[in-house]
Each structure stands twice: as structure tokens, then as C-alpha cells.
């Protein structure tokens, strides 16, 4: 059975994602720190996007630049930033500089009895920055879950004149 992923807004400025993996921490760190491996999982087939290039120098002070293409994009879209802190097998902190008010992302790997809890935190510079990201729909993949569509429909019939 696959392990479940949780995501929540833990404060005005912060999102937290959690997932357990059935492997030691060093395997996960390797998958995040090697551009060759990163390229294989960062853009799942369901996104409909293609990795044009993936450069990542995963060391404290190093930089990264991911370029994606998508049929809906007029031209390939770059995502880039710096690694502020890299501690092998336990922690990676990076900036997201493609936008003016991007978050600082931190991923930690906590190993217990051969399993590893991955915790990803995205800390935005302000409440407004996170609210804006939500309002413009950035970072989200497409497609709202069915339940919400149902609720939306139900409410639309109630509140629309």
C-alpha cells in the first residue's frame, strides 16, 4: 500500500507537506541532490509537462535552474534559485526566485527504523504573498477534486440569482 501525503497551511505564511518513505534517508537525499534522478520524479507524467533542462548544484551556496515546457506555455518556463543550506542525508533549504515573493523551501529527512519521514515546508515572505499564490493558482496542479466540484455546484444553485 502506498504511503499517504498530507498538506496543510500551518500559519499565515507557511505550507507543510508530509510523506513517509520505506527507505533510509540517504536514498531520498540522493534523489533530491542528483539532477539526473530529480529529473525523473519532479515532473510526473500526469502534469503533461516536459523537463527541457535540469541543472542543480546541490551544495550550500549552489544554484539550480529547471526549465519546463508544456503545450499551454508559449515558451519554456524557467524556475530557479539558490541552495541556502545543504546538510547531506538530512536537510536541503532553497529559494524560489522566479517570482518576486517566492517562498523559502526546506525539506528534511528524518529516519526511524529504516523508514524516513519527509517534511517539506514552504515559508512565504508574508501572508499576502501566500494569499496571492493561492489566489492566482500558482504552484497548484490542475483539476479540483470531485467533492469540491459537487459542493460548488450545490452552492451555485443556492446563491446565484
Amino acid at each position: 500500500m502506498k504511503n499517504s501525503t498530507t498538506a496543510e497551511r500551518t500559519s499565515d505564511r507557511e505550507l507543510v507537506v508530509r510523506r513517509t518513505f520505506n527507505c533510509p534517508a540517504h536514498i531520498l537525499f540522493e534523489a533530491w541532490a542528483s539532477p539526473e534522478l530529480l529529473k525523473r520524479w519532479w515532473v510526473p507524467p500526469s502534469f503533461g509537462m516536459t523537463f527541457v533542462s535540469c541543472e542543480a548544484d546541490v551544495r550550500t551556496g549552489g544554484t539550480y535552474r529547471f526549465v519546463f515546457s508544456h503545450p499551454a506555455f508559449e515558451e519554456p518556463m524557467p524556475f530557479f534559485g539558490r541552495y541556502i543550506e545543504v546538510t547531506p542525508d538530512s536537510r536541503i533549504v532553497w529559494t524560489n526566485e522566479e517570482g518576486a515573493e517566492g517562498p523559502v523551501s526546506t525539506v528534511t529527512f528524518e529516519e526511524t527504523d529504516g523508514k524516513t519521514l519527509l517534511v517539506l515546508t514552504e515559508l512565504y515572505p508574508s501572508k499576502e504573498a501566500l494569499d496571492d499564490a493561492i489566489a492566482t493558482g500558482s504552484s497548484g496542479a490542475s483539476g479540483a477534486p470531485e467533492q469540491f466540484e459537487q459542493l460548488d455546484k450545490l452552492l451555485a444553485t443556492l446563491v446565484k440569482p
Partner: protein, 115 residues
Amino acid sequence: MVQYQQIRLDSSFSALSDATRRGILERLGQADASITELAEKFDMTLTGIKKHVGVLEQAGLVTTEKVGRVRTCRLGLQRLEEETAWIERYRQLWDARFDELDKIVEEAKNRKSTL
């Protein structure tokens, strides 16, 4: 979180099970209203209306704001649902990534066991 969203949905649906509460939403869909205005419109006591508004507020369907002695009610659904739906999409994005990551993890483990 999934559980949190399920609770939110459940409370939304149960809030909608009452005709007066649906009426309140309909009314607020046209314009914001005070508790007093709602009580007049639905021919109810202030306490009765406050109870209904409280249930809607709990479910995130209505927000209220007190200015001076007047409590104004407005539809709170859109913003909250937008955020909840966005966080769910965000979760799905990472979940899809992590499923791919699982494959790499399995490969790495298999490689190790054959060495």
C-alpha cells in the same frame, strides 16, 4: 489535510440541510446583511438567527464582522473553498511527485540488495 477537509465538507453539507440556512445563504448571495435584517426577513428572533449564522460560520460558508453594535454577515464560502481546493491541488502535486520518487527508491533498494 484530507481529514480536515472531510470534516469541513461534512459540516458544509450539514449546514446546508436546513431550509432557513439555505435561505440565509441565498439572501447573502444578493448582498451582505446584518443579523437584525436577517431576523426580520426570516421572521425569527435575533437569538434564533444568530444560531443559524453560527452553524454557517462554523462550516466556513459565512463570515461575520462586528462594527459598533452591528454584526454584518457575508458569504465566506468562496475564499475559504478556494484556499481549501488550492491546498488539495498542491497536495496532489506533491503526492504525484512522491509516487514517482517511490519508484526511484525501489530501484535504489533493489540495486543495493543485488550488490
